[in-house]
Assembly symmetry: C2
């Protein structure tokens, strides 16, 4: 199989999820891919840049998932994005934590959050308020995922989903409340 940058990133993601982020070394990655380290450095300038690519891949997976769920009917865009984020966080917890704490992904994250905020349920918010709402929800979602990902599997009960929904509903309800106050 040909050695492409996508394959390198994909294998890196697998290795990160299998072990720890710290467990990823360029040498092991190379041996997993069946090559030396030099071909890696031909396709990716550094380990740091590779981790940025991993973070970007996670972000685009979130977008992809959200678009998919959106098409199959369903909820408003904010809720859809929140859930897509959470689903991906469930599937790739370590890479998602990585993405959340990486400066490179932080900008993209914010942009996609504010994009989704363009179509808030109650609408009628000015740009400033809707941006703030988006950031508040994004902060909640990121914090929830981080907690999920960091807790030992034993420590977290089976009611993680309900917890997430509870807080999300709380925020969304507060938003609706806010819009009706603004309207009157």
């Amino acid at each position: 199989m040909q050695l492409t940058r996508n394959r390198i990133v994909g294998t890196a993601i697998e290795m990160i999820e299998r072990g720890d982020v710290a467990a990823l070394s360029m040498r092991e990655l190379a041996s997993e891919l069946g090559c030396g380290v030099v071909p890696l450095y031909d396709r990716v300038p550094s380990k740091d840049a590779l981790l940025d690519r991993v973070a970007a891949a996670v972000m685009s997976e979130i977008d992809r998932t959200a678009r998919q769920e959106q098409e199959s009917g369903g909820h408003d865009r904010v809720r859809t994005l929140a859930k897509a984020f959470r689903d991906v966080g469930r599937t790739y917890p370590r890479c998602t934590v990585l993405a959340a704490s990486r400066q490179s992904a932080s900008g993209a994250l914010q942009a996609s959050g504010e994009g989704a905020a363009g179509v808030l349920p109650g609408a009628g918010f000015d740009g400033r308020v809707s941006g703030r709402l988006a950031r508040a929800i994004l902060a909640y979602v990121v914090g929830s995922i981080l907690r999920d990902a960091c807790l030992t599997p034993g420590l977290r009960g089976g009611e993680d989903d309900e917890d997430f929904e509870f807080g999300l509903d709380l925020l969304l309800r507060a938003m609706v409340e806010l819009s009706s106050v603004q309207a009157s």
Copy 2:
């Protein structure tokens, strides 16, 4: 000056804030402290354990700050804790991100959040709901801090504080709403 574990942890915190978390090496830490690496390993079993101590120090700094603000009058405990968290996150951004993404600190975090939730403003919640509220707020706070810490200083406007308050108020207001619904 004597080499104590506290001094080791304190210097580690300084170095992490000065550079990157990755920039902390046991060798550099030793030379900063004016000793060899062996004395370090006599006081701290490993680098990983040292990072756990750093995370714990950040957590207890949050508690200390919260207690202090609480004594000088002021708001309800949830809001006080949230702000203490945020203040410490402002002062030690890199260490706070470290703490938030470390399993060892994650438990302590949750405990202190649920402790504060014992005295929620509207009160009258059963244990299950108040725990959920605490976790929701904690998730929001952690997410906000992570965003603050990861964004380039240039990218974040001067209105970070207002943003934080906005989201916090949104959640707290939603809680009051919820309690009055429950009461009726």
